[in-house]
C-alpha cells in the first residue's frame, strides 16, 4: 500500500463528513442507532471496521491514538488497527491510557477513569440489543420508536425464572437517559457501571450493520434489572496475580495441564502501571517490585 495515495486517516473527506454527521446525530440522541453508509475498509467486516471508520472520522493530526482488544494493546487485531492508523494518518500512538486522546477498543473499557479530553471508540458487532429477540430490523426499529422494550424484560425475567439469575454476562443491555435501550458492545458486564456518567465521549461504530450510536459525557446509563434482582457487575473472585489489583477485570490463564491457572488484569496498561508503582501479586517474581 502506498500511503501517499490515500487521504489522511484513509477515508476521503466526504466520507468523513458523512460519518461525523452520523456521530453528531448520535450524540444528540443518546443511544439511538443512526444508519450510516459504512464503507468497505481494507480489513474484514466484523474486525472493527465500524470502530475504524469512527476513529478515522475523529482523528486530527495532533491526536494520540491507543488501540486495545480484550483490554490489551498487544493483541494481534489491536496491533493491526494501530499499525493501520500509523501508516495512513501518521498520528502518535501510545499504550498509556492517560496519554491517548482517542482510544479504540474492542470488548473492554479501560480500568483507569477517562477524562473530558478523551474519546472512547467501541467496535460493535451487533448494534441491536433486541436482535436476538427479534431478527427483523424493520420490527426492532419500530420497537425502539415506540419504546416497546417489554420483550427484553420478559427475556431477563425468564432467565431469572430458569436460572435464578440473569444469564447475560457480556453485551449486557443498558438504558440510556431513560429512553433508548442500547447494546454496550460485548464488554463484560463488569464494565457496565463505567458507561454512565463518564467524562469522555463514547462513540460506537458497527460497520457491517451500518450503524453508529453514541453516549455523550456525563450521561445516565443504567443496566437493565429488577428491584429484587439488581444488576451485579461481576468478575473472577481473585486478585491479579501480577499486580495484586483487587478491583480490575481479570483474564484466567491456564498454566499447566493439571488444573493450574492464574488470574491477570485484562487491561495490560493498567497492570503494567501498577507493577511499575511497586504493586505485587501472588506470582510476582521475587524482587520484581522496583
Amino acid at each position: 500500500m502506498s500511503e501517499a495515495a490515500y487521504n489522511f486517516a484513509y477515508l476521503d473527506e466526504a466520507t468523513k463528513r458523512m460519518i461525523r454527521r452520523a456521530l453528531l446525530k448520535g450524540l444528540a440522541i443518546p443511544g439511538y442507532q443512526v444508519p450510516f453508509a459504512s464503507r468497505e475498509m481494507p480489513m474484514p467486516y466484523g474486525w472493527g471496521t465500524g470502530g475504524v471508520q469512527v476513529t478515522a472520522a475523529c482523528l486530527t493530526p495532533e491526536d494520540c491514538l491507543k488501540v486495545i482488544d480484550q483490554g490489551a494493546d498487544d493483541t494481534t487485531n489491536a496491533v493491526s488497527i494501530r499499525k493501520f492508523f500509523e501508516r495512513t494518518a501518521g498520528v502518535a500512538t501510545s499504550e498509556h491510557t492517560a496519554a491517548a486522546s482517542v482510544i479504540q477498543t474492542r470488548h473492554r473499557i479501560p480500568e483507569q477513569a477517562l477524562t473530558e479530553r478523551q474519546i472512547l471508540v467501541y467496535q460493535v458487532p451487533i448494534p441491536e440489543p433486541l436482535r436476538f429477540l427479534e431478527p427483523r430490523e424493520s420490527e426492532t426499529r419500530k420497537m425502539h420508536a415506540l419504546e416497546e422494550y417489554g420483550l427484553m424484560h420478559v427475556k431477563l425475567y425468564e432467565d431469572i425464572a430458569r436460572h435464578g439469575a440473569i444469564a447475560t454476562s457480556y453485551a449486557y443491555p443498558v438504558r440510556v437517559e431513560g429512553r433508548y435501550v442500547m447494546d454496550p458492545s460485548p464488554i463484560p458486564k463488569f464494565d457496565n457501571p463505567k458507561l454512565g456518567g463518564m467524562a469522555a465521549i463514547q462513540l460506537f461504530g458497527a460497520g457491517r450493520e451500518q450503524r453508529i450510536y453514541a453516549v455523550p459525557p456525563y450521561t445516565r446509563v443504567v443496566s437493565l434489572d429488577f428491584e429484587d434482582h439488581p444488576f451485579e457487575a461481576s468478575k473472577a473472585a481473585h486478585d491479579c496475580d501480577l499486580c495484586g489489583a483487587a478491583h480490575s477485570y481479570l483474564d484466567e490463564v491456564i498454566t499447566d495441564d493439571k488444573g493450574g491457572r492464574m488470574f491477570v488484569c485484562s487491561d495490560t496498561d493498567f497492570c503494567a502501571m501498577r507493577r511499575a508503582e511497586g504493586h505485587v501479586g501472588r506470582l510476582s517474581p521475587k524482587g520484581a517490585a522496583a
Binding site: G46, G164, S169, S234, S266
Partner: protein, 362 residues
C-alpha cells in the same frame, strides 16, 4: 510461569511473509502472469468483477493472483479498492437491446428475430476431463461467421406487444445507491436488484434453487438470456452531450413466470430480471428467479414464508464480504467475554449445586 503474550506485531509480519511465500508456491514452476489469469481464468475474473462491483479485468486478475485463487478474498480486495475511488459521475443507462451478442438463447420460443446464438457455453459439453489440456501449446480456433446484421430485440418485448406481459412502466428516477447509502427496509426493486447483482453467486443460486423446489414457487421460463458487450455512454458536462467512454460485457436474463392474476392484476405473464457484469449466466438466471420471488407483495401473491420471498433475509445475507468477515471474526480473541461466561456458568452451577444439597438434606 506465565509471561504476558508480547510480539503480536512480529508474529503478524512473519505470518505475512509466510503467506507471500505460499502464494508463490514452488519457485521452480513459472509464475502466473496477470494476463494469463485474465485470459485463461476469464470466468473467475468475471465473478470477481461482478461481486466486487468493479469492471476492471486486470485488477480482478491481480486480486485473484494475490488471493491465491480464493475468489471471495479477491472480491474483498476489489471492494476495498473500489471504495477509495473518486466518482466522476454516472453513465447513462446501458442499452442491452443494442448489445453486440456473443450468446443469446430463448427457452420460450424456438426461433425469434435475431435468432438463437449458442456462443461459448459449457452447455452440451460432456463433462469429461480433457487430458490433452495437461500438455501445453494448444490454441484452438473456432469457425467464424460474420455477425447477423439483423437487430435482435428483446424477446419479452414481443410478448409485451400482445399485452400478455405485465407492463413495465419506464422511469427516469435515479436508483438508490447501495454503496453510498445504508441499506434500509423496505427495499424497492432497483435496490434489491443492485444488492443481488453484487450478491454471492452461491447464495443467490441456492435461493433461486429453493424457489424451484417449492419454497416460494414461481415457475420460471428463461424468456431470454443474452451475453455480449454494451457501449457505456456518459454525458460530459463540459461537452453538453453524451459520448461513448467504453464498453462492458454483460449477462442479462429475463424470465417469464405464469401468473393467474390477483384482485388487482389480470392473468398475465410476469417478469424476473437479472443483470450481471461479465459472462456470468448462472448468476444472472439465479438473480432473475430471486427477483421474481421477492416481488410477491407488489403482485398480490401470498407470503408463503419462503426464505426467497423475504427481502430482509435475502438482502441482509447475500453479501459474501459482509458474511465472511463476520463469520471469520470469531477467530479473533474473545477471552474477555468467554471469561465472563465462565464465571456465569460456575455461579449457576454453584447455585444449582447448593439447591440440590439443600433438597437432599431435607
Amino acid at each position: 510461569m506465565y509471561v504476558a503474550t508480547k510480539g503480536g506485531e512480529r508474529a503478524i509480519d512473519a505470518a505475512h511473509q509466510w503467506l507471500a511465500e505460499e502464494r508463490r508456491g514452488d519457485p521452480s514452476a513459472p509464475e502466473l502472469t496477470i494476463v494469463q489469469i485474465r485470459e485463461q481464468m476469464a470466468l473467475a475474473v468475471n465473478r470477481v468483477m461482478a461481486e466486487g462491483s468493479l469492471y476492471d479485468r486486470d485488477l480482478a486478475a491481480l486480486a485473484i493472483k494475490q488471493a491465491r485463487g480464493d475468489l471471495i478474498e479477491a472480491i474483498f480486495l476489489i471492494r476495498a479498492y473500489r471504495t477509495t475511488l473518486p466518482r466522476f459521475g454516472a453513465s447513462q443507462p446501458v442499452d442491452t437491446d443494442a448489445m453486440a451478442l456473443s450468446r443469446r438463447i430463448s427457452a420460450t420460443f424456438k426461433d425469434a428475430p435475431g435468432g438463437q446464438v449458442l456462443g461459448p457455453t459449457f452447455d452440451y459439453t460432456h463433462r469429461l476431463l480433457d487430458f490433452t489440456l495437461m500438455a501445453e501449446g494448444e490454441a484452438p480456433q473456432a469457425a467464424r461467421k460474420p455477425a447477423d446484421p439483423a437487430p435482435a430485440p428483446h424477446i419479452l418485448q414481443l410478448l409485451d406487444r400482445d399485452g400478455l406481459m405485465e407492463p413495465l412502466p419506464a422511469s427516469d428516477e435515479t436508483p438508490p445507491d447501495l454503496t453510498r447509502e445504508p441499506l434500509e427496509m423496505p427495499a424497492d426493486r432497483p435496490l434489491r436488484l443492485q444488492a443481488l447483482a453484487r450478491g454471492d453467486e452461491g447464495f443467490v443460486l441456492s435461493m433461486a434453487y429453493s424457489t424451484q423446489r417449492g419454497y416460494g414457487r414461481t415457475h420460471a421460463f428463461v424468456g431470454e438470456l443474452r451475453i455480449g458487450t454494451c457501449a457505456v455512454d456518459m454525458e460530459i458536462p463540459e461537452l453538453g452531450f453524451a459520448i461513448e467512454i467504453g464498453e462492458i460485457e454483460l449477462t442479462e436474463c429475463e424470465t417469464v413466470n405464469q401468473f393467474t392474476g390477483s384482485k388487482t392484476e389480470p392473468p398475465q405473464f410476469t417478469r424476473g430480471y437479472g443483470l450481471v457484469m461479465g459472462q456470468s449466466e448462472r448468476k444472472a438466471i439465479s438473480m432473475s428467479l430471486v427477483d421474481r420471488a421477492l416481488r410477491w407483495a407488489e403482485l398480490g401473491e401470498d407470503d408463503m414464508g419462503a426464505p426467497a420471498q423475504d427481502a430482509e433475509f435475502v438482502l441482509y445475507h447475500c453479501d459474501n464480504i459482509q458474511a465472511t468477515g463476520f463469520l471469520e471474526h470469531i477467530k479473533l480473541p474473545h477471552y474477555v467475554d468467554f471469561q465472563s461466561e465462565l464465571e456465569l456458568i460456575r455461579k449457576l452451577r454453584r447455585d444449582a449445586g447448593a439447591e440440590t444439597c439443600k433438597e437432599a438434606a431435607e
